[in-house]
Amino acid sequence: MSTAPSKSTLPPRNPVLVALGIPRLRLPGRNMSIFLGTVLGISSMIYYDRKNRRANRQKWKDRVSYLAEETLQPNGMPRKVTVYVAPPPGDHLDVTIGHFTQYVKPVLTAAAIDWELVEAKRQGDIRHQVAEQIRKERRGEGDSRDELMRAVTDGLKYDTEGGVICVGRGAYKEYLHGLNEGWLGPLEMPASPQLEKPVDEVRGLLQSGDDVTQTAVEASKAADAGVVTSQVAEANKSIEEDDGEEKKDTKPAVPKPYISQADYGSAPTPPELAQITSFQPIVYIPLPHILGFLNTPIRTYRFFTKRELADRCGRLAASVALSQSRPFIPRIDLAQGMEEENEWPKKWKETALEKGSEWMQDFVVDDRIAERLRVYQLPPIEDENKPTGPAAIKE
């Protein structure tokens, strides 16, 4: 109605912009600034973390990739590493497998190392399987191939080095306990009141255990080195499906250890053990996993700093690939992963202690086993970003 001021109080505009019709440029206001700042801040943190995670992963892959360029004869088989995964308490197996796939597997593929993934669904699965495998070897039944397989695989040259990767403290504990039980325990299941169950159930126990180990041994010796996921997983699934048909509650339980931790010291040394000078070296891959609403700040921090984890796990995987190991020192190595164990849910730990579950029992390794064990570890490297080749490993 009234006349507006004829001249605006803003500075004159560039006639080019006026001609083009571009409106006056403004900085965002307070609210918009906060919004943009938050969004860009979080995105850039994620981007930075992912970029460095990829760079760290690539660094370790490059360090071991010279191994993939060695020639392999047509009748040669690649080195096969066994990976034991168990679900973290209170969560699913996908977590551990995802962790392995993200941080350890790339380095193994870059080094052209084949792996056999042994999954565990319940506590004691891994222990039983490892022990059963050792007992089979002790009895002399280690070679379970039939004639056709023998004819096929006898001409193949297997790589005897092997190696064991345990992802997570639970798998680590179970593997070591299984090793002790297998070598120091009796060859047959001891008859004890706890183990007396109706005959069918016992057979079911032994059968399920045997099936699992049978396929595990076959899988480890199969010429089909290309099969990534082990047939054990399939056997496990099929066993559980069979049991699911009857009833969920009557799943055959994992057989109890043939020898308890307290008896390790008093067990006689079997002659088969005396002949072995060293076992396959092992390595423990940390699996940081924390649950709980009040732990959200810690989990947020971990979400934004996965590059460190990639570096640590990549380094351990590279030590496996490069076969750099040191002797097992119980004082240090039994404590590996305590920070992971401290993060296990408290309630779970309490119930586990009450029930006497395997993961909360004493973590003991007998001396006779410990002196034969080795642990994969890379010596300190001066400059991790320097490109390497075979010569640089002799440090």
């Binding site: 020639t71 392999l72 004869q73 290309g226």
Partner: protein, 88 residues
């Protein structure tokens, strides 16, 4: 059919249908082998040939490729059988 109205006895009693069946199978196996080799060569073995031997990475890759190939064929085969049975 070969011994109807021709006045000629069959040689050692071979069955033409069976022979054709076996021929078909051999052809299928040969095709599968060719296919698998082609696919895995394309996927696994890079173009620049500096060495005549397969290295470990390539060898692993080929192993896995063949394994996946045959697993796929098995899965497809079972699915097709199911569908045929369902249609019948």
């Amino acid at each position: 059919m070969s011994f109807l109205g021709m006045g000629r006895p069959p040689a050692t009693g071979y069955d033409e249908n069976k022979i054709n069946g076996i021929k078909g199978e051999m052809l299928m196996i040969q095709q599968m082998k060719d296919r698998a080799s082609l696919v895995c060569l394309e996927k696994c073995i890079p173009n620049y040939y500096s060495d005549g031997d397969l290295n470990k990475g390539e060898s692993n890759c080929v192993d896995r490729c063949i394994s996946k190939f045959f697993q796929t064929i098995k899965v497809i085969g079972t699915e097709m059988q199911k569908q045929q049975q369902g249609a019948m």
